[in-house]
Symmetry: C2
């Protein structure tokens, strides 16, 4: 089983954390080094990693800080403060709880990560089981290495699948990360702009939509990268199944309770120093949207066993 | 009445045609000079102008070529060959017909253009009449100077309106042209990426969608810039009225007969020399899509009188 660099983008080697710098992809596959919790927090603030990468980085930072005899409550506070609208508190509270209980911290965290890895692989296997030979999958943004793994599991069962990926403006995770990792794993992938979905679906070129989620609420609503909701509406119109690969559910009752992060409008107007719009124009950038459960054909949950 | 530079982007002064170079907007408002039909055809091929600009450029080129005693059939053939998937034949046949009939050509063409100008202004006035004070319009791509004119006519009737504009990937006509011309005319405008439409509409932030069209068929289907269809599907889902400002109808019966121009995938992957995706990845770029009449709340036709 070959894993995408995006499946496990953070590594701990000796007393150095290696962080895959996603902002450099696909041009360069490089890792940033963090030797203490302050450097790790800086990498989170600068959005060098995201999604599962952030979970791994937080956990490895606690291992490193424990070895360095740091005050873990202080480390937790620094992590919680990195991105005001993203909550790492669930993770940091869990680690502080482990520490308080007197469990061997490093071993406990490594155990947690092994289980997470296993469950994510199982999730990819489950999706592959739902696919048919010849399926054409449309996906959006990036599901941290799961798409090439799904294709690989499908192939092992004799099912050939291919992908369309929306580029996912403004950060272009679709073309820079997802298309890159699928192509690199040897599977067929084609990029489109975010506005081509309805036309593509009207041609009958897509058999299933599969996306990830950053947040799952108790009623089955999900929050994911901005644009997911629109694809779900369009998929419903064209009667294309819409699958969501989910994280564990939060304690929120419905998606209406999820706070949407509004990022600086400038991130829409400038790409790598190049202006894409008039400098003075107003821009609106909600980073996520909420897709209601009624538009989701199937949730693929993280196994609880 | 103040007109956007995009409302009439081509001018004939003496024996020189001045072509607004839309590829330089919004950074620079500059005009390219064409002194004969070969230079005019080169500007069309390089997509320096589009939509109404192409119609004006073709007509002024005939005036210039007539003054220069060129063979007009040869000029028509050169124009028809500029962009294989766009048809200028309707226009060039009309001019050759005028010439054949013995009508004074320059006067006839200038008359045609005056009528076109008048009808387009009437069309903007008609749209303004349909709006309410406080309306928030979502638009896509660029309707050659009509949006600021609509806002101006609405204002004269005491109605304040504001705009959201999709950036319109890959060419960014929405942010580079439409947002620029609306802002320049002193009206409120906010850009969003193409994938934010459903979320924006779900918030109740938009009261009407208004787009242009490149092609209208006899049954009311329209072809417009890629992404229009998707917005129409989403507007239907959220029950937001969807208006289309139409050109004269073609002779095609339905939108299914319209041939969609497929452009090089590279235009998705590279923006002003900057790679937005892996160099080797496949990309699919249909330049237009067809919105069926059933998704259109109201067609705003060019007056026939």
């Amino acid at each position: 089983m070959k894993l995408s660099p995006l499946f496990w983008p953070i590594q701990l080697k000796g007393n150095t954390i290696y962080i895959l710098d996603e902002t450099q992809l696909p041009q360069k596959l490089t890792y940033i080094k963090a030797k203490n919790y302050l450097q790790a927090c800086a990498a989170i603030k600068q959005m060098k990693t995201r999604a599962v990468g952030q979970v791994l980085l937080v956990m490895y930072t606690f291992i490193l800080s424990k070895r360095q005899n740091k005050n873990l409550a202080k480390v937790a506070a620094a992590i919680n403060a990195t991105r005001p609208t993203l909550s790492f508190k669930f993770l940091t509270d869990m680690v502080l709880g482990m520490e308080k209980s007197g469990a061997p911290l490093e071993k406990s965290i490594l155990g947690f990560l092994e289980i997470l890895k296993y469950k994510r692989i199982q999730q990819a296997r489950q999706v592959a089981g739902l696919l048919k030979n010849g399926d054409v999958i449309l996906t959006h943004c990036n599901v941290s290495g799961l798409m090439p793994l799904i294709a690989q599991f499908a192939k092992e069962r004799g099912k050939k699948i291919s992908f369309y990926v929306t580029e996912t403006r403004p950060y272009l995770q679709g073309s820079r990360l997802t298309a890159w990792e699928i192509m690199r794993a040897g599977f067929e992938v084609t990029i489109i702009t975010d506005n081509m979905v309805a036309y593509l679906l009207s041609l009958g070129k897509v058999t299933k939509v599969i996306v990830g989620a950053d947040h799952l609420t108790l009623n089955g609503d999900i929050a994911n990268k901005i644009g997911t909701y629109q694809i779900a509406v369009v998929a419903k119109y064209f009667k294309i199944p819409f699958f969501v690969i989910c994280p564990p559910a939060s304690k929120l009752k419905t998606g209406k309770e999820i706070k949407i992060e509004i990022r600086p409008g400038n991130e829409l107007k400038v790409y790598q120093g190049l202006y894409l719009a008039p400098k003075e124009v107003k821009a609106y950038y909600p980073a996520f949207d909420v897709t209601p459960a009624k538009l989701i054909t199937k949730h693929i949950y993280l196994s609880v066993s």
